[in-house]
């Protein structure tokens, strides 16, 4: 069954099987994409658990949350792989994973590895004034952007918060006209020009396939 976005934001997702070969400890914002890749590729050796996506609102809490999950599950799996990018931890998550002896996704953000880390870096200068949303973030726009930024309570702050941006780019993992329309509406609400770029699963697909 497809987990719902609010659950993924607030509580995450426990592993279905308690034992197995490889456990992916992922951000809840990546659950749909990982499950889609797992189903499409028949990765039965891979088990997924997700931490609440809302940890992104306090990136400094991510390393401790990942460590707790690794510690709890490491005896039950042959290997653990952390499906987070740096995600605003300033290198602390990478350092923690290294100390724990587990690998993690390369890249600064999930939207960077969906876009392709190399391509994302190459476009950095041209897209300095771009605000990115993935499919998940479009669906959870209010929970991750509108409410945490206080725009529900203080819409007058919009230009203080987003005035330096020029456009919103929806880095789309799937072809979904309804989601596309919602992303365009997010751009309108922020006063930004809208663009859409289809990325598919980007580097995530190749990296997870590598785990074998």
């Amino acid at each position: 069954m497809r987990p719902d976005d609010t659950t993924l934001t607030e509580r995450g997702l426990p592993p279905v099987q308690a034992r197995g070969r490889i456990l992916l400890i992922a951000c809840g914002a990546l659950a749909h994409e990982i499950l889609a890749l797992k189903a499409a590729n028949g990765w039965h050796h891979v088990e997924l658990m997700c931490l609440p996506a809302k940890l992104h609102l306090w990136p400094e809490r991510i390393p401790d949350a990942v460590e707790a999950a690794v510690t709890r599950h490491r005896d039950d799996f042959e290997a653990i792989y952390v499906v987070y990018a740096d995600c605003g931890t300033g290198g602390l998550l990478q350092a923690r994973c290294a100390a724990l002896g587990v690998e993690m996704m390369p890249g600064p953000h999930c939207y960077a590895f969906f876009d392709g880390n190399a391509e994302f870096a190459a476009r950095a200068e041209d897209e300095m004034r771009a605000f990115y949303l993935t499919d998940f973030l479009v669906r959870q726009f209010d929970a991750f952007v509108w409410r945490p930024m206080g725009l529900d309570r203080h819409p007058e702050l919009r230009d203080v918060l987003f005035g330096q941006y020029e456009r919103l780019i929806h880095l789309a993992q799937t072809e979904d006209a309804a989601l596309d329309a919602k992303a365009a509406d997010c751009a309108t609400r922020l006063g930004l020009r809208y663009e859409r770029r289809f990325t598919g699963y980007g580097d995530l697909a190749a990296e997870l396939a590598r785990l074998g």
């Binding site: 990136p59 740096d86 995600c87 605003g88 931890t89 300033g90 290198g91 602390l92 600064p108 953000h109 960077a112 870096a121 950095a124 200068e125 300095m128 004034r129 945490p148 930024m149 206080g150 725009l151 309570r153 203080h154 702050l157 203080v160 918060l161 330096q164 941006y165």
Partner: protein, 235 residues
């Protein structure tokens, strides 16, 4: 509080008015802050006293509650906007009355980064604390910083970055300062959401400041140390 209990600011004695200003800053009430600043000035308060006892003290409470997770970015921005209203009235008067100067800071967001909310808060709090601040804005290549250091001769260089991808540029700036033999002439403070103390040390900054209130305290501390060193050298 009901509407019938509306506070008449001009009826409050000085001590209560200052406490009310702390509350009004906390609630981001710009009009009330501007009115209260005018009231205190009309009562003969020196502009510097209004600044420190009413505005800076009030923003320090806001800063602490932000650090403790009681207030969030939108509330801090509204408080900052209210303080800005008060500062706008006080700034010309402070210049006229020769208020004490703590030092001078050049500050800017690094190349590739357009985020300026944290930097603006730091700049405003530093001004409130008596520092002269030269704000270079966003997306600054190393040349901008070096030109500003040469032109402004500040005590402090402040750099800000919000992105994991742009924060390494701070090291480019510091390494260039080292190459040119300039590094020891300035106090270098860095800040921004993804940074941490370890990163600050690793790139050769003097300190990482986790928020605007910490930036002010750190800057004052370094300036005091600098003066002590100069005093000792002269003695």
């Amino acid at each position: 509080m009901s509407d019938e209990d509306e506070i008449i600011l001009s009826d409050l004695p000085d001590d209560e008015l200052v406490l009310q200003m702390h509350d009004d800053l906390y609630d981001g009430l710009k009009d009330e802050i501007e009115e209260s600043v005018q009231i205190l000035l009309a009562r003969g308060w020196a502009p510097y006293r209004v600044l420190t006892e009413a505005l800076v003290a009030g923003m320090t409470i806001v800063g602490k509650d932000f650090r403790d997770g009681i207030l969030f970015v939108p509330e801090v921005l509204l408080a900052a906007n209210a303080m800005k209203g008060g500062m706008f009235i006080l700034k010309p008067l402070l210049a006229e009355t020769g208020a004490p100067r703590q030092g001078k800071m050049v500050i800017g967001t690094v190349k590739g980064d357009i985020h300026d909310i944290g930097k603006n808060l730091v700049a405003m709090m530093m001004e409130g604390a008596g520092f002269e601040v030269v704000d270079l804005g966003i997306n600054n290549p190393v040349e901008n910083y070096l030109e500003a250091l040469e032109r402004e001769q500040p005590d402090i260089l402040g750099m800000s970055a919000l992105l994991t991808t742009t924060m390494p540029y701070m090291k480019v700036v510091i390494d260039t300062m080292v190459e040119k033999g300039l590094r020891e002439d300035y106090i270098v403070l860095v800040g921004g959401a993804p940074l941490n103390e370890e990163f600050g040390r690793a790139i050769g900054a003097d300190a990482y400041c986790r928020d605007a209130a910490v930036a002010v305290e750190t800057a004052k501390d370094f300036i005091a140390r600098k003066h002590n060193r100069l005093g000792a050298a002269a003695g």
